[in-house]
């Protein structure tokens, strides 16, 4: 089956009378299939991201949670240490309570650990990945959103990049997220200036992806906590995106950094190593 779009319209002669009617038929089958394919990919990404968000979220926040839990457990045990040698009724009761406090901290720690282990048990989707294809897929997935945000995109990909080992869908998640952030960063500037640039190149033993926006930049206060979960400057976001990006990139043995991109805007850089010992997280 093929999809066809028809157009027709009148042609007027010199005395503004309909002289002829012109019609055209265009075969748009390819365009429709492309759009369907994008829709399928978007659905896949959404599905996987829902599946992995719980795991990735807990992996991302487990460090943040473990720190205060460790501190609380240590302080409780310190109380226990200070009570040593005291056998009066008051000390005995206090000892019981602080012991219980340590126990509860450890229990909370175990819950966090179980949650992040859940993400590590999710099916292994690692394979040999052509990063250019991942980026092209990510660009296709974000196109609609960029159009809605009146943002244009420029890409500069190097050809013949060596393949890397990784999880295609997780990497897509990272780049879609970074591109979406870049567009968000420029909502306050004139539409004509809203350009996102994405580039990919090889840098000795790793691949480097850079995403540049023309936005107002990131304030020093925001920069300090940018990868922490649940920290956001946007009213409608959870603030989990960048911390998940970081967790994903680190699980690929890479790193994600950002810096001002003169003359204005911000550049996010993702470095992925060409060889990474694959260890199940």
């Amino acid at each position: 089956m093929r999809s066809v779009v028809g157009n027709s319209g009148p042609l007027l002669n010199g005395s503004k009378v309909i002289d002829r009617v012109v019609g055209s038929m265009r075969d748009v089958t390819q365009r429709v299939t492309d759009q369907e394919q994008i829709a399928v990919q978007q659905a896949e990404l959404l599905h996987v991201s829902r599946l992995s968000t719980l795991g990735m979220t807990s992996a991302a926040i487990s460090h943040e949670l473990n720190q205060p839990l460790t501190a609380a457990a240590n302080f409780a045990s310190a109380c226990e240490g200070l009570l040593e040698g005291r056998t009066d009724e008051f000390a005995n009761r206090l000892r019981g309570y602080v012991k219980e406090m340590s126990k509860q901290c450890l229990r909370a720690g175990q819950i966090v650990r179980r949650l992040s282990e859940f993400s590590r048990k999710s099916p292994n989707r690692w394979s040999t990945v052509d990063l250019n294809l991942v980026l092209l897929d990510s660009v296709a997935l974000i196109e609609v959103e960029l159009r809605a945000k009146k943002t244009r995109l420029r890409h500069e990909f190097s050809t013949n990049l060596p393949p890397i080992q990784g999880d295609r869908v997780q990497l897509q998640q990272v780049f879609v997220n970074l591109l979406s952030n870049a567009a968000d960063a420029m909502q306050g500037i004139p539409e004509d200036d809203r350009w996102v640039t994405i580039s990919c190149s090889r840098e000795s033993d790793c691949l480097l992806v850079q995403i540049d926006d023309q936005g107002p930049g990131i304030s020093p206060e925001a920069a300090e906590r940018i990868f922490q979960p649940f920290v956001t400057t946007k009213s409608n976001h959870s603030g989990i995106g960048l911390s998940i990006c970081q967790t994903i990139i680190e699980s690929h043995g890479g790193e994600i950094t950002f810096a001002p991109s003169p003359p204005r805007g911000t550049r996010f850089a993702v470095k992925l190593p060409l060889s990474h010992r694959v260890v199940r997280r």
């Binding site: 992996a59 487990s62 460090h63 473990n66 720190q67 205060p68 839990l69 460790t70 501190a71 609380a72 457990a73 240590n74 302080f75 045990s77 310190a78 109380c79 226990e80 240490g81 200070l82 340590s102 901290c105 450890l106 909370a108 720690g109 650990r113 992040s116 010992r277 260890v279 199940r280 997280r281």
Partner: protein, 215 residues
């Protein structure tokens, strides 16, 4: 006896304060640091004690701190603490000779036991290294001739046979052997052999950890 030092390194100041509270309440004196660089500025290669360090830190992480300590041939025992230990990291930490790796949050008993074990290990290590270095110094005093005779004696050859191979009289052999014994402060070939084994111990091997106490 030299005082033992306990260094604690964590970029999270609350965690740092809590480890301080825990160890102080249990009778230890610690030196807290918010960054590995600050700690390295204070540490001397001759220090005895242990280091409790977080793995994940900005600028310099626990692994890099461990490498920096290895570089200065520190005898401090290293206790690595981390929220989540990736298998690759855990293997590296242990291969680089850490005493142990503890996941946060932990039972305080585990940290206190590790500290106790670390202090003992550090003392053991510095003593063992001292003995080896001392043995090497004594061997360095031997002349090449004395050393050649001693080596053959250790291999079980009698003075007469040594004299034949080295083209020396039996008396010369025996005289030189006695001089070697004197320099080495030993009284028999067997003692000299034991001292040689000690001198030949590779210092890296002294890093091998003793098994943990019964817990």
């Amino acid at each position: 006896m030299t005082t033992q030092r306990i260094f604690v390194v964590d970029d999270d100041l609350e965690v740092l304060a809590s480890v301080d509270a825990l160890l102080t309440a249990n009778g230890y004196r610690i030196e807290p640091f918010a960054s590995p660089c600050q700690m390295l500025a204070q540490v001397k290669p001759t220090d005895i004690g242990c280091v409790i360090t977080d793995l994940k830190m900005p600028e310099m992480d626990g692994l890099e701190l461990q490498q920096a300590l290895l570089k200065i041939e520190s005898c401090l025992a290293l206790i690595m603490v981390t929220g989540y230990a990736e298998v690759t990291h855990a293997v590296t930490v242990m291969e680089q000779g850490a005493l142990t790796l503890i996941e946060k949050p932990y039972e305080s008993r585990r940290l206190l036991e590790a500290v106790e074990r670390g202090l003992e290990f550090s003392r053991f290590q510095i003593a063992a290294r001292g003995e080896t270095l001392h043995a090497r110094q004594r061997f360095d005093k031997l002349t090449p001739e004395e050393r050649a005779i001693l080596d053959q004696a250790i291999h079980g050859l009698p003075s007469k046979a040594i004299g034949l191979t080295l083209k020396l009289s039996q008396r010369t052999v025996e005289r030189r052997r006695m001089q070697a014994f004197k320099k080495l402060q030993v009284e028999s070939v067997a003692e000299a052999a034991m001292l040689l084994a000690l001198a030949q111990t590779k210092l890296e091997l002294l890093r091998i950890r003793p098994p943990p106490f019964n817990v």
